[in-house]
Symmetry: C2
Subunit: 258 residues, 2 copies
């Protein structure tokens, strides 16, 4: 294709049966949706516009052709809705159902984009949407099966001066720690301020993965361009400081000690 803009970014994500989804609770179309959504979510966190996607399927012996087509349709529907061009692919036989999606995103200039490494003391820390919905016991939740990449929010936040951004794939505690480490700063987050999905406890919202909401650092003005809940701030120092609802440091939070 003709390069859509001067700056290209790219990302690759794989979803595997038994790890990221179960065919007991997800349809083939759900799996296709999730595979593309997780890859696009990385572009969202960079503030890039979606461009092209390349898709590779590993299909186990006996996987029905019509289910493979349904899987491809799940990708196609989300691709059309987000303006992503599926530019090619590969299909191989293998031991377990696995879908890999590589995406290119585009930007007019580097200044439109956002990394994970720019958080600085004085920034606020916020998140889009609600947290924890995908981690609720009923794993078949819509949110877990069909995460929504925050493409518009990501682009708007990056252009509005976000200093660091990440998509919440591994869970807030882990992903916030990635931003803290990359930025060489200290993120201080209060569990009491988390926007909780219905029925979700703060601790689950902080550790549950697969939300694919964005965590963003930057000035308060970011709230003018996207729905954000402020959950903390960036301070001098290094690492992640999680405070429980009583304001005491959280200990023993899985996925947070590294």
């Amino acid at each position: 294709m003709v390069a859509a803009a001067p700056i290209a970014v790219s990302s690759i994500d794989t979803v595997a049966e038994g790890v990221h989804f179960s065919l007991d609770t997800s349809s083939p179309a759900d799996v296709g949706h999730k595979a593309l959504a997780t890859a696009l979510s990385d572009l969202a966190a960079m503030g890039a516009a979606p461009g092209e996607a390349l898709v590779s399927f590993v299909l186990p012996a006996g996987f029905p052709d019509e289910e493979a087509l349904e899987l491809a349709r799940g990708i196609g529907v989300l691709a059309r809705r987000t303006g992503t061009a599926v530019a090619g692919g590969d299909i191989v036989r293998g031991g377990c159902l696995t879908v890999t999606v590589a995406v290119n995103g585009w930007a007019e200039s580097e200044y439109e984009l956002c990394g994970r490494d720019g958080a600085q003391p004085g920034d606020l820390v916020g998140v889009t949407g609600e947290l924890g919905a995908a981690a609720r016991p009923e794993e078949a939740s819509e949110r877990h099966r069909r995460p929504e990449p925050r493409l518009e929010e990501g682009r708007a936040l990056a252009r509005a001066g976000a200093t660091a951004m990440i998509d919440l794939s591994d869970g807030l505690a882990t992903d916030a720690w990635h931003v803290a480490r990359a930025s060489g700063a200290r993120l201080r987050i209060e569990l009491a301020r988390l926007p909780l999905a219905p029925g979700v406890a703060p601790r689950l919202a902080a550790t549950g993965g697969d939300d694919y909401e964005l965590m963003v650092c930057g000035p308060r003005a970011l709230e003018d361009v996207a729905g954000i809940t402020w959950i903390g701030e960036v301070a001098e120092g290094e690492g992640l400081e999680l405070l429980d609802v009583a304001g005491a440091p959280v200990e023993g939070l899985s996925g947070y000690e590294h």
Copy 2:
């Protein structure tokens, strides 16, 4: 990254254990090499310069960390040699060892690139290198474990006026048929003219996959820019005409009837 040139092309390829390699005969570094080589081979056939690669590993439970690192090193060595930047990746647990590589390639203009659909009556049909080496009974052959993407040859041939090009991943008979169909032309290929790897019969050279040599259509002058063996020509009509060493049409060639 900054877009390296105005035109981007891309490709994705997956190799899976038990299908494309066996860990009985391939080292983890061989697997990494092959995964990147098969993706780069697609760029070679388009005449594009390698740009960035994204890599995704599915590692079965118990796959040793040091072997995963060796696999990554196998990718890294070929990446450095070919000027490919490994720009990102994903690692997930899953049922079987699977490596997917997505690559971006670049060109200064569309006219530098070559597709599969431009073969026209009067063109010659040629191949680089030797055929059949990867399909020899000893599957552990160097050629099978470590195919070499013909990047320099592909770029030179595309710029020198190749009308159609394809990499021989599925075997000459199948890949030539793809070009014939895409071009709406008839490819006439004589098995007697195939450049055979030592110990390989013409029929195996025509059907064995995994060679990753290039098949090219175009004017005789292409032989001035790359080592080519001419094996046939493009004629009016449609489809593929394979002639055996006695000049009679080949019947019942596996991988050729579609």
